[in-house]
Amino acid sequence: MIELGTRQLEEWMDGLPKDKSYQQLKKFTEIITTDAEPEVGQTPKEVIWTKNKAKLYRYQPAMKKTNKVPILMIYALINKPYILDLYPGNSLIEHLTNKGHDVYLLDWGTPGYEDHNMKLDDYIVDYIPRAVKKVLNTSNAKEITLFGYCMGGTMTAIFTALYPQLPIRNLLLMTSPIDFGDAGLYSNWLDKRYFQLDKLVDTLGNIPFEMIDFGNKLLNPISNVVGPYVSLADRSENENFVLNWKLMQKWLNDGIPFPGASYKQWIRDFYQDNKLINDQLEVRGRKVELANINCNLLNISATRDNIALPHQIAPLNDKVSSKNKTLHSVEAGHVSVVAGRKAINEIHPYIENWITENSK
């Protein structure tokens, strides 16, 4: 029987020649085997409402709020929302709360098998309006800013189009696909003729995270699978790099299952039939018309994003009725748009300035 625990590994490594290569290997091995994972989502928060697995958080409630319009962040049904509050000094939520914004986050939680019948309609009609109400009551505010990231942004745009009567002052979307006419490689892989959507959902119930992750990694397999480890080996002496590497790997591998009925809708109505941009999407019998969006809009796309391609994001600005609308393109990827050096130095301040300017 072969047993190679960390003690045996250490003993084997002690036998190697003590040169630079050895030091690198030792450090590399420590990082991927024995080092503790960094603690994520450290900004103080309180739960103000729960429904099923979903939780509505209010961040830094004790901190003085200088901005009168609260921000509600709506996350995707893929991965966990702590990417928005990754680590002290590398957190969009921390940045906004430190600037006096009242920030809330709607975290969908981890769905269980009992949630496999949850449709996007349920999240959009039963959860988001209630969360908006809770935020307005808690903040004692008259208007709200909605912020959606990735698929959460698509859901937020649908919600805003369905409820134009609500006091939504600003809509901020980050790498949120709207037009699925050309979704890159996904359009090929999810082809109706080959992809057995109904059979997949009926057999599995919820779609496991590993399956979603496989699809994302397949977009650029060598770079996504081997690339991170080559970078780590190359820069394992750089403490800051190692911390960011660990944070990113933790988040990327810490996914959640996708509720089956929502997945079916997401693939069929969006990727296969491209209903949203063509005003053909119906949510609980109500037609979604993006032209109903008339609040201030900031739509952010990332040039190196291969999950939500820039040309999937931009068409929203042509559809909405908003007078104040901005399409902002940044040199980043799908994740580096919200976390990392570029995000901290350029994107977080840009978002904060836009919200402040449009909340006066």
Partner: protein, 156 residues
Amino acid sequence: MTQNTSFDAFTMWKGLYEKTESTWRDSIQETLQKESFAEGLGQFQSQYLQYQELVNNMTASYLKQVNMPSREEIANVATLVINVESKLDDLEDQIDGNKDNTTKEIEHLKRVVTTLDKKLDRVIQLLDKSSGSATKTNSVQIPEVSPVPAISNAKK
């Protein structure tokens, strides 16, 4: 003459990766874009799902034989709990909505009572005056009027 001949595995690995990645990236991307790849992926998916369905059916029949609840049955119980929670949430929402209306109604009632109170004060004052003058003439005492019966009288 000396020469550094130490073997640097990481430099070699990095070099190999950089060369391989750039060389293979385009051809891999080209393959991934092909319809035949999607077709192959679909076939693989089909086989996987057939296997998974077989496992699901076998597990379900085994659990039935040993009198154990299946995943579906446990999920049904969870759904019942979620439905109850959902009803509670609806009730909470209604209470919150009613709270606003009740607060408004109470405020309105307060204003009405205050106005009524002022009117009663004036009535008492007038009665006091008239009783003062009556005492001077007839020495008849007017009983003290409390606000509560006054309101019920006013309603009548």
